[in-house]
Symmetry: D2
Subunit: 365 residues, 4 copies
């Protein structure tokens, strides 16, 4: 890999967690119907250009900013760091990487103070900040608790052509890998990495990028996610349920993927596991294991592999999308050329419940 | 319809509920692993030929009999009636229908007394009994309560070529329809009908028959069903999860379909609604409504439409399967010739979340 | 028992289920805040004198009528019968009993047609009707589904001095007992009886009566009940949580008791069991079994035993309350004179987890 | 406060999390029945002197060690640190504090390597280690998942007479306070503090100490905790349910307290909130707020305030218990001399649901 991203000589900022995403939407009213009326996120501020939303247990100003604009895209993946000094550290770090950076002591959006935004080596608009306006933490406001309540921002997911290249860069930045998907040819298809002690704060999905694959919010329990499905059915929006609900193999979380009015993908997620120890065991999944993406073997729909949101540079222009040249997870696992197994040969725990390496023909395209 | 089944002049028996199914399995050890070790049904009796199983809240002897035999099939759909006099009534009723009947005062299986089995007009082996051995109702034995506990037998589902013909016969027998699926050409694709005040004790699914589509057990909550999926994943049996979990349109229940070692289909089911009033509103679903079978619009896999279990006559021989000549639900809804919508034109409750009559292309075959 | 209530010679009406309660409240706005804003019941009709409410899965006009009046009381315990002929039957039945009856073909309240109200032999205002306006069954309106959604009316509970006397009368009326509480002196403290195939449509609690002990609504799952507690905490109404949540011994249901602004007691209830078979096993609990009222041995607060709502005669005057002369369940189980055990002598399933017949001293008054 | 614990000049160890507790039990078979058969903890190792147990999602060797001994007590509160260098740091830190320390490179128990145990300034036996044997993380072994599965060790709770003194010491050691209980006289009754980003890794409860108040395990969902209650009811062990289930005010978690055969108190706990940001808002509860300990206002039983387990010194002798001289939370809130309110004057969110400052008389002793 000739284009390896070097590790800067200056220290990486101390990142606490993924904090918020700023997304550009093309119809604020439709987006409000989706995020506020359907999903029940709580409005911290809104005007005719932007809506600031937070989850039930959040005390920083917001976890999501909807900004009206001409092209649906992502304006920022924003991480909270431990202090203002870490904002300085982030700025120096990316400058040494030769990335374009922009520092604004008053913040790029409301409710956030001194921040730096960068065009990172993978082409993503990353932001780092510490200062934020504290808002009412609603965690005991059960009078506001909806049946499908979103209680925390959990993670981002980014599409990038070369996963090992991106992983090395993020590990240098202080992220720790918890799980990944590989094949026996040495191809990495995806990797999950964290700062806050859960399975991830962000993940890299192999594909044409830079693009934003999804942003994920947590619920308390599984039934909360089921309620979101049920409500989308009641609103005759079931065609906006893209995938799930299901149990992930990777992360062990219960999940759902839905699409907002601009096709930004939102994941609803609950019950992954603690990863905060430095020797937390890394789990590598075989790309041909049919339970890696869905523990119940339910198929991943093709759109989930192929569709994603554009990301913006610091001028607000969409970044060019670069094609993945490594193997495609979809191609190696789905359809006539693909191959997946439920049980590796000789692996069956129970008395031969089907074929030796059974998988779900009917479910595959 | 020239072959209409006449209503007998004698009164129909007073049926309480679906009570148990006797199924023939080809490997008792494998079936035991499935029903006892995986699903946690409770053994009321077992020997090297049969296993008698009951659900957590049952007090009659069993809800399922596994009988070792050469061909996987269903030996009896058994209903409990209000009294022994109703067994007499059932016998007289089917005799007048010209059906073959067999009465055994000592019962056909253990734990059941005076019974009649019949080859019904649709070709199904129906049984009616009142006498049964009471066993310990385990409903407060939480020391035995597994994470995916099955608490009640809920219903049967039968495949028959001519649904209106079967429906008329079952309505004469005292069943009341709660929901059905039709098209605007007057074709009925399926009908649900009950005795016990839930959505159904049995349902008719249009297709080649007589065959047994599935038998369904209830759980208390939705997470119990998710646990069954998770456990099947852990046992590397995810290829035996055929469809779901999901929310039914019809019945409003949360569901899962799994396959036993002989491909007998088992549904796990929870939270339908009370239907015991005589004017309970019947719900008719349009066959093209993409939320009728799954409220979240997730696709029905083809095997669910095409595969089903043979049923036996009173000699233990498989009944001939007669082809459905009416339209196939699968053909009119799935694939190139099919058509389904999420929203009827002009029906959207929310601001145009997708196409006018959106449905999930990626999910269809 | 010299005052036994004779069984009429005419047939009893065919009762389907408890259908609604009409309660008199003294401040309609406060009651609306409780039943609509807090509990999320759905308004079928309201004006400045009455509010008609229904649960999520109901299709008859209402399950609860709040009528503004000077004295908090219960105006009617209303049962739905199978047909108008059964309203006639009810009228004849109570006339033969010598009870005062009033028939109104236009109904006593909105949404209900031909009805009879009676002052029953125990002093309760009972109503019987079949005709009702069908309203939208909201069972799939998950866009309206709150986190603590009440989905069905489950049962009434009535306080009466002489439980066996009342039980005999209700059994004659067609109710079937599922569970009761007795002591070894032959005293019955309470009895549960049903029509619709659950543990009860009504129950008799021994005490000064006639009074209304509570009316109960069902939720789908246990977390829905917990949410109601959490919401009452958030609204700083925890002093209106009277008892629970807990698991009943009797009925095996998960429960909560809360008090409305007039101290009418509401139970929230989920997951009892099927009782529709004629030989459904009756469970008799020992009054000294400390798990009979709460399976976890948590104490019953004294107010739960002593407080209840007045009931009205057909003129709208409160019925006189007659003292119970049999033993009081509270007195025989709570406090210095009471006695309860967790394990009967020699009954421990586990190795002596405490005293031989352990109970919770700290929890008792 | 003349006996303030000074902050050492050497750096504090970098503590990751509470990792395990070693408790002395007097009957290993009874304890095994409790922790393995009832609670379903997984055995990592056992012999006739000790049982090593872990929770479902754990990968270090154990979360609980049961050691057979003559007196029920706690032998160690063990924290995992980031590295072996942090074990050195811990040793140096406590040596500077003048505490007795003992270093064992081979560990004090199986599965743990280089460790230091100390008699800390509050009299508790604290342990610090990094090295541990990795065992199978069972987090996807849903074939082993019980209905009341314990998935993580969550926290310790320690009784100490002078909470501010202990809090200052633990803050110096690197713990961060998330919540506390105070009165307007400046008395602190309890404090919660964390390392791992949840509400706590340990808490200080004001009372006679040093004693161990409880050790807490997490479940995934609330129903898992309810199942533990239900199972204890089925096993006729309800008198070993000491308090709950309920919703905490402090921490917002759903909780249950049960007692093991030696009266060691175990909490089952789920769904507190993320606290990992350095400016995480601290919540101070008024000791008179009747929802602080139970959000639903259910009473705290006296035993919960008064009973706790002895702790051992490094010779295995019970530490002397020193009386609390500050106000007792029980005395200021329960009984004739106590005072609690549900609503502060003028605080009611809803229309006067009861008394101005309502609380539950009937529930108080
Ligand atoms: Ca709401
Ligand atoms: Fe994700
Ligand atoms: Fe079914
Ligand atoms: Fe009740
Ligand atoms: Fe705790």
């Amino acid at each position: 890999m000739s284009n390896v991203i070097p590790k800067p000589s200056v220290p990486a900022p101390d990142i606490l967690r993924c904090a918020y995403m700023e997304i550009v939407v093309t119809d604020l009213a439709k987006s409000r119907a989706f995020y506020v009326d359907l999903l029940g996120l709580h409005v911290s501020y809104e005007d005719d250009k932007q809506i600031y939303l937070r989850s039930f247990e959040e005390f920083i100003h917001h976890n999501l900013v909807l900004t009206l604009g001409p092209i649906a895209a992502v304006a920022a993946f924003s991480y909270r760091v431990r202090s203002n000094a870490d904002v300085d550290a982030a700025e120096a770090y990316y400058k040494e990487l030769g990335c374009r950076t922009e520092r604004r002591t008053e913040g790029f959006v409301r409710g956030i103070g001194d921040s730096v935004r960068v065009e990172d080596p993978l082409g993503f608009p990353y932001e780092f900040f510490f200062e934020t306006e504290h808002v009412e933490r609603l965690h005991m406001r059960y009078d506001l608790y909806s049946a499908g309540e979103l209680v925390r921002l959990d993670h981002f997911n980014q599409v990038t052509p070369d996963v090992p290249r991106g992983r090395k860069y993020l590990e240098d930045l202080g992220f720790r890998v918890t799980e990944d998907i590989q094949d026996d040819q040495g191809v990495t298809y995806a990797a999950w990495m964290h700062r806050k002690g859960t399975v991830h704060d962000t993940a890299l999905t192999g594909g044409d990028g830079p693009r934003m694959h999804h942003v994920a919010f947590s619920t308390h329990e599984k039934h909360n996610i089921i309620q979101i499905c049920d409500k989308m059915g009641a609103l005759r929006m079931s065609d906006r349920i893209e995938r799930g609900p299901g149990r992930h193999g990777v992360s062990n979380a219960f999940y759902l993927y839905i699409l907002d009015p601009d096709d930004h993908r939102i994941e609803i997620y609950t019950q992954d596991y603690y990863t905060g120890d430095p020797d937390n065991p890394v789990i590598t999944w075989d790309v041909h294991d049919n339970q890696r993406r869905d523990w119940w073997g339910n198929p991943v729909v093709p759109s989930w592999y192929t569709e994603a949101s554009l990301v913006l540079d610091l001028d607000g222009k969409p970044q060019d999308v670069i094609q993945r040249t490594h193997s495609s997870e979809m191609e190696v696992t789905v359809g006539a050329d693909g191959f997946s197994y439920t049980r590796a040969p000789g692996d069956a725990l129970t008395g031969d419940p089907g074929e030796e390496v059974g998988f779900k023909m009917g479910h595959q395209l």
